[in-house]
Every structure is written in structure tokens, then in C-alpha cells.
């Protein structure tokens, strides 16, 4: 190979679309490659505890399914998704107060594909998406790929702050840009672990309606609340001006990659066409597996199993934080879902601390990834969904030790007096 004239080792480098410019590898990726090893207590990824599923029964069910319905389950199908599954999805959504027709449901390859097709049909480069601060990293990545700008809106312990939403909408309008939708995770927020309180839900809807702002309600965790029945979804209060995204990743199995969008009729047609252009049709076999599980297994009992399991893990995480984290740190107290959002003492950079944590055999996700504007240096997300409670306690204990060391280093360079050996 003659490289005397120079090579960038990528023959296609001058042909990529503008939207690829942010697609670079990063130190964080390198660190997460280590974090997936079993020696490390992984509290980074929000993986569901699929080992709690009745795996033998699912194996039997799937074998029977292929033997009896293989000709359909292994074939292409319509781009909107299997009708029987769409009917069952409507019964799932009814648990959160949503009344919907299967005709308005589009099955997707996880709700991540739903985010993609929603962005594809609504976002032009330079458009604005309004989202909570912080917001789901996978959604931010999708919006960025469609070259949209994200404007974050403050949350407090009760969820999205209505006044802040009003102000953000006004600021965007003043800047001459167009906000296309509010992207919100109202229940057991990823990453913040916060739930939008009942009292604010109508107000948020009214603010968006007044501004002509579409709402994209992403609700993968809604059935995983620890305290009583699920809160009625935003979509249960209105039918227009809102797209609802659901998923079986957390209530059944992430690996089947089945999610859905519930959309108003006109929007639905465009979403189907966008979806067909990317996947032709959602995965037929996965849809049949999910439909069989919903139709013939006590799946709501399974969700209860998950709820109790995650509640115990949430408790372990919060108790360990209380017992071991230093003054100056704080964290959210989720009432469902997978995540605790931790704010570290002033001066600590959670991203810079990650290598020390990996060395200490514990992993988390630094907060900056959940913002599009550089906020979040003081924050980290802990996912309690996968490790056993004892591993969670040990993981948080290790992290507290890592934090103590980091605080000592930070204090050294800020000129503050230090305590040797840390907390």
C-alpha cells in the first residue's frame, strides 16, 4: 500500500452525509468494553432481568409456535405489524387508561425504531426538539442524526416544570426556530428516575396544545411502578397532538425488539411508509412470540414479578447510597423503573472519574451523555435492574470508595484542605 500521498484509511471519507460528522468512537466506548466483563459490577446499562422470565415455558411456547405457525411466523408480513399483536397491544395500553384502535398502532423494532421513524417524518435539519433535562441518550442520538437541536427543560422532583416548558417554547420561537415536538418520558424517567406528578399532566398537555407543539410520550417503564396502579398516560387524556411510544423490552424481553407507536391516523400512514423503508416489516417471529406470550401466559403476573424484583433492587441501591455516599451528593428516589440519578459533590466530573470506577470494578453511565448541551458533568446514572441486591450494595460501596479517592484528588488541585484516605 502506497501511503506516501497520505491516507485517511477510509476510502469513503469524502462521501459521507453531513449527519455522520458526530459518529466517532470515544473513550467511553473503550471503558464500557471493559465494563461488560463479569468481574465488574455493571450498573451502567439499563438491561432488564430477563432471567426472571419463565424461560422453559417460553422455549416450549416458541417451539410449538414455529411447529404450528412457522409458515407465517417466518415469513414477511405487513409493514404495520401483525393485527393480532396490535389488538393485544391495545389491551396493554388500556392498563394505563388509553383507549385505542389497533388500526392506529404501528409495531416497530423496539421503541428505538419508533423514535427513528417519528424523527424521520417530523424533523428537518435545524428543527428543535424540546426534551427533559436530562433526557434518554438513545433519543438524543436519534435527534442528532436527523440534525435537530435539542432544547432541554428543567425537571424537579415532580417531573417536567411547566413554567420552564413555557419559557423554553417562547425562547425557541423568539430565536426564529421551530420546535416540532416535546419528547418526554413521564413515568420513571430514564435517566432521572422521576415521575411527572398527576397534578402537572394536564398543564403540560395544555401548554403544548396552546403552542401547537406535538407531544411524543415515551413510556417503556409505565407498568413498572412500585407504589400502586400505573398513572394514566398522557395519551389517555388526549387523542390528538400526541404520539405514544410503547415497548415490550422492559415488561417482557429486550431481545425480541418489539415496540410500537400509537399515532393519529394521518401520521400513522407516514410512519408505516417510513418504517417499511427501513425494515420492510417488523420482525414477524418476534411479534408472534410476544403475541403468544400475551395471549396464553399470565403476563401481568410476570410484570408483578418484575415489579417486586426491581423494587428490592431499588431499595438496595438507595440504602447503599444512604449508607456510603458522602455529604454533598444527592440522588433521586424512583418509585418505579430502572434508574437512580446521582448528583456528585461540586468539583467532581463523573466522566473523568469513570476510569477510576472501572479500576474499582464498578460501572455507571456519566451524566453528560444525557444532555445535548454539555450539562451533566456532576451526574451519573445508576441502573439497578440487572445486578442482584447484594451485588448492588457492593457496587455502590465500591463506587463510594472511588468517589472518596476522586474527591481527594479534586480537593488537591482546587487548593482545598484534604482528608487523607478519603471518607
Amino acid at each position: 500500500m502506497d501511503m506516501s500521498g497520505g491516507s485517511r484509511l477510509d476510502a469513503y471519507v469524502d462521501r459521507y452525509a453531513t449527519r455522520t460528522h458526530g459518529m466517532t468512537t470515544s473513550e467511553i466506548r473503550a471503558l464500557f468494553a471493559v465494563a461488560n466483563r463479569p468481574e465488574i459490577i455493571g450498573m451502567g446499562g439499563g438491561s432488564p432481568c430477563v432471567s426472571a422470565l419463565p424461560l422453559d415455558a417460553i422455549a416450549e411456547m416458541t417451539a410449538k409456535l414455529i411447529s404450528e405457525q412457522g409458515a407465517q411466523a417466518l415469513q414477511y408480513m405487513g409493514g404495520q405489524g401483525d393485527e393480532r399483536l396490535r389488538e393485544l397491544i391495545c389491551t396493554v395500553m388500556a392498563l394505563e387508561g388509553i383507549s385505542a384502535s389497533p388500526d392506529d398502532v404501528i409495531v416497530t423494532v423496539g421503541s428505538q425504531q419508533a423514535l427513528d421513524i417519528v424523527s424521520r417524518i417530523f424533523l428537518d435539519p435545524g428543527d428543535v426538539v424540546i426534551a427533559e433535562a436530562p433526557s434518554y441518550v438513545g433519543a438524543l442520538g436519534t435527534f442528532t442524526q436527523y440534525e435537530a437541536d435539542v432544547v432541554h427543560v428543567t425537571m424537579d422532583d415532580d417531573g417536567l416544570v411547566p413554567e420552564a416548558l413555557r419559557a423554553a417554547i417562547a425562547d425557541v420561537a423568539k430565536s426564529g426556530r421551530r420546535a416540532k415536538f416535546l419528547y418526554t418520558v413521564p413515568n420513571y424517567h430514564n435517566p432521572a428516575g422521576i415521575t411527572l406528578i398527576e397534578e402537572r399532566r394536564d398543564e403540560i398537555i395544555a401548554i403544548c396544545a396552546e403552542a401547537g407543539l406535538l407531544i411524543v410520550e415515551d413510556n417503556p417503564y409505565g407498568l413498572l411502578g412500585f407504589d400502586g396502579p400505573p398513572l394514566p398516560a398522557l395519551r389517555s387524556r388526549i387523542t390528538d397532538g400526541i404520539l405514544y411510544l410503547g415497548s415490550f423490552s422492559k415488561t417482557f424481553a429486550a431481545g425480541v425488539r418489539v415496540g410500537w407507536v400509537l399515532a393519529p391516523p394521518g401520521v400513522k400512514e407516514k410512519l408505516i411508509m417510513a418504517s417499511e423503508a427501513t425494515t420492510l416489516c417488523p420482525v414477524a417471529l418476534s411479534q408472534y412470540v410476544v403475541a403468544e406470550f400475551l395471549a396464553h401466559h399470565p403476563w401481568q403476573e410476570q410484570v408483578k414479578v418484575f415489579r417486586e424484583l426491581y423494587r428490592a433492587r431499588r431499595d438496595a441501591c438507595l440504602e447503599a447510597l444512604e449508607a456510603s455516599f458522602p455529604p454533598g451528593s444527592s440522588w433521586t428516589h424512583p418509585t418505579g423503573g430502572f434508574y437512580v440519578w446521582v448528583t456528585l459533590p461540586a468539583g467532581v466530573d463523573a466522566k473523568a472519574m469513570l476510569p477510576r470506577a472501572i479500576q474499582g470494578r464498578v460501572a455507571y453511565v456519566p451524566g453528560v451523555g444525557f444532555y445535548s448541551d454539555g450539562q451533566g458533568t456532576l451526574n451519573l446514572r445508576l441502573a439497578y435492574s440487572l445486578p442482584e441486591p447484594d451485588r448492588i450494595r457492593e457496587g455502590v460501596r465500591r463506587l463510594a470508595g472511588v468517589l472518596a479517592e476522586e474527591l481527594e484528588i479534586v480537593a488537591t488541585f482546587s487548593g482545598q484542605p484534604t482528608v487523607r484516605g478519603g471518607a
Binding site: 500500500m1 497520505g6 484509511l9 471519507v13 466517532t24 471493559v34 465488574i40
Partner: protein, 323 residues
């Protein structure tokens, strides 16, 4: 088929460079497989030692980067098994992997290396962080490069252009290692010079010139194709190219290395060659520098790795007490 016998490529491990290492290991494995070598890619875990003892391969190619592969411990452990491997001994790797130690050794042998200090966190804690940093800036000036004393792939490395940036750079560096090397930044042509010794003596491969489009050869610039322009051979005056090659061979010999190494250098505007560091387990990914140098020299990567494995086997056979 090769007459080499079964070989293992070790990669992965728990260092921060795990992903890079796995990528290197896969590439070496594929290159050897293409030549008909009986080769397996193996991760570093508790299964490795029993495997080496119960079913020893003819030789091992080490594609383990970072502390786990380059600080000498893994190599010492391999010596205990008697399985020959490609690359430096544990004791030599230990010296080369520690950048301040390596700089001191090669400086004594006559190579120029940028002025620097290597400081543990404890020094800043005991003497006062801001005061000691101010003194560092007074003595070394700006800009500076802060890097972990031990580590690779530019992880934890920051180019510091103002004194205000220094504290954060130090904190970030200490997250990777408890010793920080603070080095005067040298502007110039950035080079990587690989050295190969298949038993006939160390020779340098054509220098690879590195031109990161962002201006900094950081992790993203190293491993994202398209972010860095490489020239191989480097666009140097022949005398400068020869000086760079000689510097890399001298570093290889002075540090007591064997088989292969890669030395990173800067050639400044006056043509002076400055030594930065030497890698004893150079990257073998598609964007890594040793494979680019080998290609520029007309060498096939698989053949090169196979020859080095042969050399390791012969070395193993000539060891006292070898079976």
C-alpha cells in the same frame, strides 16, 4: 498449512484498551489464518493458565494492550509456563511501559526527549496542588501534555494550553494512573516508527506520519477511520527519516526489547527528533500504525506475525531446560 504448530493470540483482558486489544487480536488471528496457521484468539481470564499448562501451544502472539499486557506481569506469568511468546520480556516491558522511566533510559543513551516531570498525586497533596502546578508551569512553560505514566491509546492524555486547564487535566489523568507525566509540548511532525527483529537484528520500518485533522491525536482520532491523515513513509527529508529510524532502533535496544516495538517521536521545525514513548505491544487494528508501516514496507502482516512466532518458538527451544 504452516509448520508452526498451534498458536494462540492473546487479546482482551480487563485494561481500558480491551476493545482495541480485541480488534488487534482479531486482525492478527485473521492474518495468520489466511496463511494456514492453526491459530485461536483467546481472552485473558482464569481459564488461560490451565489451558497453557494442559495443552501448551507452540507460541503465543500478545495483542494485549494497556497495563494488563504491557506492564510485564502477563509476560512474567507466561515465562512461568514455559510457553514462548512474541515480544519483550516482563522486565523489559516494565521499563518501557513506564513512560518517565523509559524517557530517562533513552535520554542516557543520547536521545532527546521533551523536558518533563513525573509526579504522584501524593506530591501535590503534600506540597499543595496549586503551588506545585504553578511551579511546573514556570519551569516547563506552556503548552504542556499531561499523560498517565502508564497507559496507551491516548487515554487520560490532555494537551494543556493554559494554566487554567491544568487542574482538570491532572484530575482526569489520575483517574487512569497514580503517576502523571507532565511534559513540555513539542510542535512538529508526529511520527510512529515500528521496529521488527525476526532474529536477524532490529530494523526500523518506514516512519508513519500522523496528521490528526482535529489537531490532536486522541482516542477518537486514533480509532475512527477518516479522522487522521497518515503518510507512510513520512514526508521527511531522507536524513530526518534515517534519524527517526535510528532513534527507534536505539530505543528498542536500549530498553532491552525484542521482536517488535513502536516508538512515537516528534520531529520539530529544526529537524530535531524528540522521543515520546515506546509501545511493546503495538496496536494491530486497521487504523494502527505498525500494520501501516509494514504495508508501506511491502510486508504482509500475516507473514510478519508468523515469522515473529517462528522466532519465538526457536528462542523457546534454545532456552536452557527447554523440552
Amino acid at each position: 498449512m504452516s509448520d508452526l504448530g498451534p498458536v494462540l493470540v492473546l487479546a482482551g483482558g480487563l485494561s481500558y484498551e480491551r476493545e482495541v486489544s480485541l480488534s488487534s487480536g482479531r486482525r492478527v488471528t485473521d492474518a495468520l489464518t489466511a496463511l494456514g496457521v492453526d491459530v485461536q484468539l483467546v481472552d485473558i481470564d482464569a481459564h488461560l493458565l490451565p489451558r497453557l499448562l494442559n495443552d501448551p501451544p507452540a507460541a503465543i502472539f500478545l495483542a494485549v494492550h494497556g497495563i494488563e499486557g504491557e506492564d510485564g506481569a502477563l509476560r512474567d506469568a507466561l515465562d512461568l509456563t514455559g510457553v514462548p511468546y512474541v515480544g519483550a520480556t516482563g522486565s523489559a516491558a516494565r521499563l518501557a511501559f513506564d513512560k518517565p522511566v523509559a524517557k530517562a533510559i533513552v535520554a542516557r543513551a543520547g536521545l532527546h526527549t521533551p523536558p518533563s516531570v513525573a509526579l504522584q498525586h501524593a506530591a501535590f497533596r503534600d506540597l499543595g496542588g496549586p503551588a506545585l502546578l504553578a511551579q511546573v508551569v514556570r519551569q516547563l512553560g506552556l503548552p504542556l501534555v499531561v499523560k498517565p505514566a502508564r497507559g496507551g491509546s491516548a487515554l487520560g492524555v490532555t494537551v494543556v494550553r493554559t494554566a487554567a486547564e491544568l487542574p482538570a487535566a491532572m484530575v482526569g489523568c489520575y483517574s487512569y494512573d497514580n503517576v502523571a507525566l507532565i511534559e513540555q509540548y513539542v510542535a512538529g511532525v508526529e511520527l510512529a516508527v515500528s521496529v521488527i527483529d525476526d532474529g536477524t537484528g532490529p530494523v526500523s520500518l518506514p516512519a508513519v506520519e500522523i496528521e490528526p485533522l482535529s489537531g490532536t491525536f486522541d482516542y477518537a482520532a486514533r480509532y475512527t477511520a477518516g479522522m487522521t491523515e497518515y503518510h507512510a513513509p513520512a514526508r521527511l527529508h531522507p536524513a530526518q527519516a534515517a534519524a527517526a529510524g535510528a532513534a527507534a532502533v536505539l530505543a528498542h535496544l536500549t530498553l532491552g526489547l525484542r521482536d517488535l516495538s513502536r516508538t512515537d517521536l516528534i520531529v520539530d521545525a529544526e529537524g530535531q527528533v524528540h522521543y515520546l514513548e515506546t509501545n511493546v505491544a503495538p496496536g494491530m487494528t486497521t487504523t494502527s500504525l505498525l500494520p501501516l508501516a509494514a504495508a508501506a514496507a511491502g510486508l504482509d502482516l500475516g507473514t510478519l506475525c508468523r515469522d515473529l512466532l517462528h522466532h519465538a518458538v526457536q528462542r523457546g527451544q534454545s532456552r536452557p531446560g527447554a523440552m
